[in-house]
Each structure stands twice: as C-alpha cells, then as structure tokens.
C-alpha cells in the first residue's frame, strides 16, 4: 500500500499498466494491487488533476451550504463533481467527513484543509491555485495552537471550548512514563485495570484487560497500534489531541509497549489528516533524540520501542480494528472474523493492542495521577472524562472535555442549543434521540459515544439526515458480506419511497425487520450498526414516519409507475401503451 500511495502521490494516479510491476515488487498478485486501489477513496486508477479538491459531503457540511460551495466550484472550473478539468489541473470530488464539522463547510485541496468555505470564496481560491498549483498558498492565516506549527501551517481551528482535568489541562510531560518505569509491567496493567479505563473509540472495551491479554498471548513480536482514523462523521476530537497532545498520546503508547512487551508501534493516521503527518514525524524524531523512543528508553535496559506512522487512504471501515490491521499490513481494509481477537492474533498474526488516540492519552495520565484519581472522575461505571466533538445547529461547535455522566441537556446548554429538536449521539452508527430523552447521560451504560455529537434544530428534515447517513454507509461498506452490501441499499430505497410519499404502513415494519437482520447478520461493526439511523428514528421519531405513510387498500404499489416503466420501450418502438395510456 505504501508503494501504491507513493505512485499515486507522484503521478496523481496509479496507471493500470503499473499494477503488474507493483505486484512483483511487493511479492503479491496483480489482483491484490487492483483491489487495494479500488478499495480506498484516495487512490485512483484514472489520471487526476494536479490539485484534487475533495469537498466534505457530511450532512453537517450540507446543512451549512456545501452544495452551494460545490456548485460554485463546478461553475468556476466548468466541470461536474467527480470530473477532472481537460487541462489536467483540477479534480473535483465529494468525500466523506474529513473531521472538520465544527468549521464546515470544509474541503481538502490535496492534503491542505480548507475551512469555512462559502461560494463567494471559490473564485479567489481557484485563481490562487492556478498560479502555482500549491494548495498551501491558500493558507493565509493559521489556526491556534499546534495548527500554527511550522510543520502544520493549517487554517484549522482547535475550537477547544472546555478543558477537563485529564486530557486538555496542563500536565507534567512524561510524568506518567517516569512512574511507569519504576513499576513492573504487571503493576502497570493492574493500575490501568483498577482505573476502569474503557476504550475511547466507542466500543468501550477495558483497556487494562486488553493489554493483559496482549501481554499474556504467545508470540515473539507484539505490536501497539494507535487508531487515529476517526472516520465516524462528526468526530474531530482526535484531530485536536493529535495537534495539541501528540506527546501525551505517544507517551501512552510507550506505556502500553512497556506493559505488554511490544517493541513496535504504529500510528494509523487517516488520509484526511495527512496535514499533520510531518508534525507527528517530528514529534517522534524529537522523542527518539530525547531517549523516549528507541533502545533502552529513559535508560531502562531492555526496554526498546519505536513507532512508525501508517497513512490511511480514505476508508471509514478502517477505523474498525481488524480492518485497520489489514490496512496496516498493506492490503484492502477488510474486516476479519473474530475471534481470534487482535490481542491474540492481530498485526502479522501477532498479539496486538489497538487503542484509540484518546485512550492512550488517558493511560498516560492515569500512570501519573493514579487509578484512584481517575476513578473518582465521571460516574461509577464510566470513569474519567470524555472528549466530545459537538457540531451542527448550535452556537458554539467545538471540542469539550467533560466528565462522564453529563446529561444531554447540560451539554446542550454549554454548546448553546437548548432548543435542539434532535441530537445524534455517536455519529451515524449511534442513535438519534428526541427532546424527551435529554435527561439521559453520556456514559457507557446509557449513551456511549466515540465523541461525535451532532445537533439538529427543528428546521431540519430529520429523514434527510437519515438518508445521508445511509448513503454514507452504502459508500463505505467494504462489500464483503451480503447483509451489509445489499441490506443498506434496500433500506435506503425503501426510505426514499417513504420520503416520496409512496409508502404504506407495512413499509415501516419492513424497515424494522430488514434493519434488524442487517444488524444481526453483518460481519463487522459497520453493518452491525449501519441500520441504526433508521432504527433509532423509527423508535424515537415515529410520528415523522407515520405522517408520511398512508394506508392503501387497492393492493397496488404506489411506488410502481407503469407509464414510466414503458417509457423507454415507447420511445424505441414509437408507440404508446394500448393498455395504460388510454386510461
């Protein structure tokens, strides 16, 4: 995959005549190369422009006017979305959420992030790009904090609106690592276990237990993987951690390595965050020089650990740990059957601990301040704080570090959206709740979330949101298993039928049945959660659906239009339907 990425970067695409060569070099088959290129959104087998403009098509961006921005780009360049200009200068595409929902509409120009776009800005952007085709020229003013670092130079704003006592407060660098090295690996795992730290990516597995499994698993080489592929639409909290707390994250990975006995770490960085790569490489280098990575870390004899960065190439499913591992191994990001879990047989079939960026940061802080300190924050069953990225129809979108147990109502007050009509918790794969449920708590036992909170006002058509989410899942399904590949398409088709006013009450039962089977029968987390937008709105916003469907006793399907179905034939044969046109 790295080879393919490099060719892509060099030529702007991967010419099919090179597949054979790449396959030979990588010791694999041509079809493997081909499937990698077709799998990832950021790889292409067709020549792309010098500047590839990828507009974020997330529902939040659309509500903030992404369609108008897209139209402005199309107008300015004289091409449609998905096309490349004839002079080979520009390619225009839609892409899934790029983690900038708090400054939408946003886009990527190659690796450069463009935020807060408006149709008025578009002509200026294109004019500036035509000069040197270097998107970095567009960055006139950098964002705050690490965004202004010479190696980042991004116009992205952190939008940190609340700092908690775990992650975003001021803390002593390397204090956690220092205390770790005074303990045995078993003691470290015991400390993490005692703190009750649960995985921050969304699934909430106990981190200490995972490390314990990895430590106990048979295998010479063990691996520490950091999941920085936050692809769940509306999530952008890791973006802030990567920008502001990279050392803390790497410190956490180093602690994980010490406790599990791993010598290699990989940060899997999503392609959308490529603008942070040079910066993170530099952090790694700095740590190597300071003796915090490499051999005999901090003078501890026999403790060797180093980290490399693996770039993603635009695939939501790679946030799922087994897909992420496949992707790190350089193949398509297909999910794998579990068990065996990665802790037993993960990367290169070796014991592997995969954790979220935020989990590693928390672990480093726990080692510094102690399990009891951490345990006392949050609720009894959900310890610590949670980084939430809030976006949508609220006055103050951004990143909030809050203790677990905060109610939705309290959060909405903070972000300035008390009158919200609906809140999507945990992104499209989570659930949408209505006003009656704002007393519920954000924690693992009630409303778990990886960080994504989307707020929708009463003006929004919630079924448009659901439709956009289903479209997203259809695009991102890897296609391996039928329930996910086909089920999501059928769900969306039926939803569209209902939205067009052609639905009957039975269609709602159909959605529920098919949604549940898709959840139950799918192979990985994507398909197991993809019907949630429909299932949770059917449950929480039933009146919207009920108002759209109408009982029909004729027995005919309103969605079938025979005149439309014979249109083609009518045109080809030059005659009209004897049976139906006469009616």
């Amino acid at each position: 995959m790295d080879m393919v990425r490099e060719v892509q970067q060099e030529l702007g695409y991967v010419p099919p005549e090179y597949y054979e060569l790449i396959a030979k070099e990588a010791g694999t088959h041509r079809v493997e190369v081909e499937s990698v290129i077709s799998f990832y959104a950021f790889l292409s087998d067709r020549k792309q422009g010098k500047v590839v403009l990828r507009l974020c098509d997330d529902i939040i961006d659309r509500f903030k006017g992404a369609d108008d921005v897209a139209a402005a780009f199309e107008n300015e360049l004289g091409i449609s979305m998905g096309e490349t200009t004839e002079d080979g200068h520009f390619t225009l595409e839609w892409t899934a959420c790029i983690g900038m929902s708090d400054q939408a509409p946003a886009a990527l120009a190659n690796d450069t992030v463009l935020t807060n776009l408006t149709p008025e800005k578009v002509p200026g952007i294109i004019a500036a790009l035509r000069k040197k085709f270097d998107p970095q020229d567009l960055v006139s003013e950098c964002g705050d904090g690490g965004n202004a670092d010479p190696l980042v130079q991004a116009m992205v704003q952190n939008n940190i609106l609340e700092r908690g006592e775990v992650l975003l407060c001021d803390c002593t660098p390397e204090a956690g690592l220092k205390k770790t090295l005074e303990k045995t690996p078993q003691e470290v795992i015991a400390e993490i276990k005692e703190s009750g730290l649960q995985g921050r990516g969304g699934a909430g597995f106990l981190v200490g237990l995972k490390w314990d499994f990895t430590r106990g698993a048979a295998g010479e080489n063990k691996f520490i993987l950091c999941n920085a592929d936050e692809g769940e639409p509306g999530t952008f909290k890791d973006r802030v951690l990567l920008t502001e707390r990279p050392d803390l994250m790497i410190e956490g990975m180093t602690i994980a390595a010490y406790s599990t006995g791993a010598e290699t770490g990989i940060i899997y960085l999503r392609a959308e965050y490529a603008y942070l790569r040079a910066f993170l490489e530099e952090v790694l280098n700095r740590r190597r020089k300071a003796g915090l990575l490499g051999n005999s870390i901090s003078g501890k004899e026999g403790f060797n650990f180093d980290i490399r960065i693996q770039m993603g190439a635009g695939a939501y499913v790679c946030g799922e740990e087994s897909s992420l591992i496949s992707s790190c191994e350089g193949t398509r990001g297909d999910p794998a059957d579990r068990p065996p879990f990665p802790a037993i047989a993960g990367y290169k079939v070796s014991p592997t601990a995969v954790n979220n960026v935020e989990s590693y940061c928390c672990a480093a802080r726990i080692m510094d301040k102690g399990a009891v300190w951490f345990e006392n924050i949050g609720t009894e069953r959900s310890c610590g704080t949670k980084l939430l990225s809030v976006c949508g129809d609220c006055e103050r979108p951004g990143v909030y570090e809050v203790p677990f147990g905060i109610t939705v109502a309290e959060l909405l007050k903070k972000v300035g959206a008390e009158d919200a009509a609906a809140v999507q918790i945990a992104g499209p794969s989570g659930q949408m709740i209505d006003r009656g449920q704002y007393h519920r708590k954000i924690c693992f036992s009630d409303l778990p979330t990886g960080g994504s909170i989307m707020v929708f006002s009463a003006q929004r058509d919630l079924l448009e949101v659901v439709d956009a989410f289903m479209e997203f899942f259809i695009d991102e399904s890897c296609g391996y298993c039928v329930p996910c590949r086909v089920g999501n398409v059928l769900l969306r088709q039926r939803l569209e039928r209902i939205r067009e006013g052609k639905g009957v009450p039975e269609d709602l039962d159909y959605l529920e049945r098919l949604g549940k089977s898709t959840c139950r029968m799918s192979r990985c987390g994507l398909g197991q959660t993809s019907p949630n937008p429909i299932l949770s709105t059917l449950k929480n916003f039933r009146p919207i659906y009920n108002a759209l469907v109408r009982e029909d006793r004729s027995g005919l399907q309103k969605s079938f239009d025979v005149l439309k179905a014979v249109e083609d034939a009518s045109e080809l044969t030059g005659r009209r339907s004897v049976i139906f046109h006469a009616r």
Binding site: G555, Q557, F560, V562, A565, V566, E567, D568, T573, G574
Partner: protein
C-alpha cells in the same frame, strides 16, 4: 356452498412452476374436489371471471401485459402468492436489468451471433405488449401476501402451501421442501 376458486398465471416465467404444479400427480383429483380453477393455463380460461380465494403468480413483470394481468389478479384474489423465484425476485429474466433496453433489442434481434434476420427489423407489431424498462418482481407491482421460493418450488411444497391456505391451518414447510441441492 360452492367451492373456492383458484386462479393461476405465468407472467415472465418459463412455465416451470406450472409444470411443478402438475407434478402433484394424482393429488390433482383431490385438488379439484376442493376447488375450482378460474383463469389458469390448466383450464385455458382467458379472463378472471369471479372472486378467487387464491391467486398463484409465476414470473415477474417484463411487459405491460404482465402488469395488467397481475393487477387484475390483485383485484380479484383474496390472497396472492408469488410462486417461485422469478415472481419473488425477477429470476433469470431479470438478468437484463442492468442492460439498457436498446442494447437488449440489438443483441436479441440484430447483432447476436445466432440471430438470422436479413430484413434487420425489430419486431414491432401493435399487438406486442410494450416491454418494461426492467423486469419487476411481482411484489414491486402489487401487494403480495406470500412467497414460495424455489426454481421451481417442488410439487410437495406447492401442495403444502395450497392446502394450508384452503384449510386455514398453519403451513408446514419442513426443511426438505425448501432445500434445493
């Protein structure tokens, strides 16, 4: 009390399901004790005449006449059953669904390698029903109450389904009746 009526039709199908229906063999004598046939290839009645308890649909809809017949069945039958895979999901005829109609015509009447058509005409008699843009399974055109899968469903499966419908008893379709290899 007069016997309930059953109507059957083969739309975009191969009549295989109807052949399977005939495979109930001597049980057809029992069947006609229980029911009368209305419109059906079995008695060659062309138009549905009265109220039917059950309509068996073989095949999906590939042309406007299929749609017309199917809608008529829906109007006259209390219970409609999609009989076999073509009615249920389009089946073999639906293989053309991803190919534009004009290309299908070309392949079938003009450029196909087994085509002998010196006049180069594509059949276009006013009596030929207009073909639909694609083949639709029956339930996309009208509401279907039950689906009996199989290509074709076995005679025993059809027998089990029809007798259950007529007696109002729950249907028993053991695994053997729905297993096709």
């Amino acid at each position: 009390m007069s016997k309930p009526k059953i109507a059957t039709t083969s739309l975009a199908g191969c009549f295989g399901c109807h052949m399977s229906l005939l495979d109930i063999d001597e049980r057809i004598l029992q069947l006609i004790e229980l029911i009368d046939f209305d419109k059906s290839p079995i008695d060659d009645i062309k138009k549905i005449e009265g109220r039917c308890a059950v309509g068996l649909i073989e095949g999906g809809c590939c042309n406007e006449e299929n749609v017309h017949v199917l809608q008529e069945f829906r109007e006259h039958c209390d219970v409609l059953v999609s009989l076999g895979d073509c009615a249920t999901m389009g089946g073999i005829p639906a293989m053309r669904n991803n190919i534009p109609l004009a290309e299908c015509f070309d392949e079938a009447y003009l450029t196909g390698i087994t085509v002998y058509n010196p006049s180069g005409q594509v059949p276009n008699d006013p009596d030929i029903p207009l073909i639909l843009d694609k083949v639709y399974p029956a339930h996309e055109v009208v509401k279907i109450d039950y689906f009996l899968p199989g290509c074709p469903p076995s005679a025993d499966a059809i027998w089990a389904a029809v007798t259950a419908l007529l007696s109002g008893k729950p249907i028993e379709l053991p695994y053997e009746l729905l297993k096709y290899d």
